[in-house]
Symmetry: C2
Subunit: 222 residues, 2 copies
């Protein structure tokens, strides 16, 4: 498939680009508000993939252009940029098979990280609200440490959760996730169940902060 | 230690009693609003432990009497009974080393289970609010399937999370949890972090509902 990673110059975008670049044949389009930055990062990813013996093309574009060309659009932007990113690309994604939301609203205080969803109940539901009609939205990839994913020498052996109201779109996201070696994707129901999935992210950060040697902790459901 | 399991005739109370009964030497007091029911269940647990070769005493009492005699009090009651249970035993637990809260506020609709904390932000914080001053409160054992725990032929190999503001009390809860074979306890910070811990429970139920063969799913942080 052709995957646009909007905000693909950030941590989780880079991590997904490198894993998909190494483990799959999906065509990868790195998007950024700044096309020049996207091109620079895409070249970096190519270089890093080449260093692990994978010769392949990664292209960089402005978010709109990347979204326009893709079957799958991943919103790899912080929670507070999700709405404007979707609005900016809305007329380019009407034909997309799925819009994937990995973002989580969090707040930090002296105790740790806390889940702070938008009014809609979750970021996934916010994306579903602002996405063009007919574009199925799926929440996925929330609970993965970007550092661990971006380090290609690490074997993952992790789970990620997928929520969404459109069965075909959930299936696509599950297959995309499981294209990454060592990653298992588990459906967790409709978008109404996204809050419980998203709130796993601050929990993982709190566990990482409280326990030595768990810096990039992930989760397995067994 | 001497552990009172209030609501110890219910699913998670039974599960903890059987595991502690088999794997540790802690003295176990099963509490119920109905002392007769508590005595009946305590005898049942003795019989079940005997059937796996463990000869030991489990006593049944009214909740107040059980709480009065214990070092550790576990509130193994549904979320909507937490407040009245704590209030009922308040003047009996002033010397307790720790009050442990495993309850989670949840609501079910056609999509699945959803986390619904009380006004205080979490059940753990509610317990801390209504507990007598000086009694440390810890949230733990939320994310364990009672059925899986109660089935003594199952090897656990699971994690549970512990949150609380009193370091000594957290340490006691961690040791109590890790007295159960195959269970690892991970601190996840103060009581302010309890919501993210508690919301793992509806998530696990949703995963169980959406995935074949994961009926009693638990979690490992890796």
């Amino acid at each position: 498939m052709r995957i646009a990673i909007l905000g693909g110059t950030g941590d989780i975008g880079q991590a997904l680009a490198l894993r998909w670049g190494r483990d799959t044949d999906h065509e990868l389009l790195v998007g950024s508000r700044d096309p020049e930055k996207a091109r620079g990062k895409a070249e970096e990813y190519e270089t890093e993939l080449d260093s692990v013996g994978v010769e392949r093309t990664v292209k960089g574009f402005g978010n709109e252009m990347a979204a326009d060309r893709a079957d799958v659009v991943v919103l790899a932007v912080p929670a507070y940029h999700v709405r404007d990113t979707v609005e900016a690309v809305a007329d380019r994604i009407e034909d997309a098979d799925v819009l994937i939301s990995p973002a989580v609203g969090m707040e930090r205080d002296e105790e740790g990280f806390h889940y702070r969803p938008p009014q809609t109940g979750s970021v996934t539901e916010l994306v579903a609200d602002v996405a063009p009609e007919g574009v199925p939205v799926v929440g996925a990839f929330h609970n993965l440490s970007a550092d661990r994913l971006a380090n290609l020498s690490v074997d993952l052996d992790l789970d990620t959760l997928v929520v969404g109201d459109d069965g075909d779109a959930v299936d696509i996201a599950v297959r995309l996730a499981e294209g990454i070696e060592g990653l298992r994707a588990l459906p967790a129901g409709g978008a109404a169940n996204a809050a419980e999935v998203e709130s796993l992210t601050p929990l993982l950060i709190n566990i990482a902060m409280e326990n030595d040697g768990m810096h990039d902790v992930g989760v397995k459901f067994e």
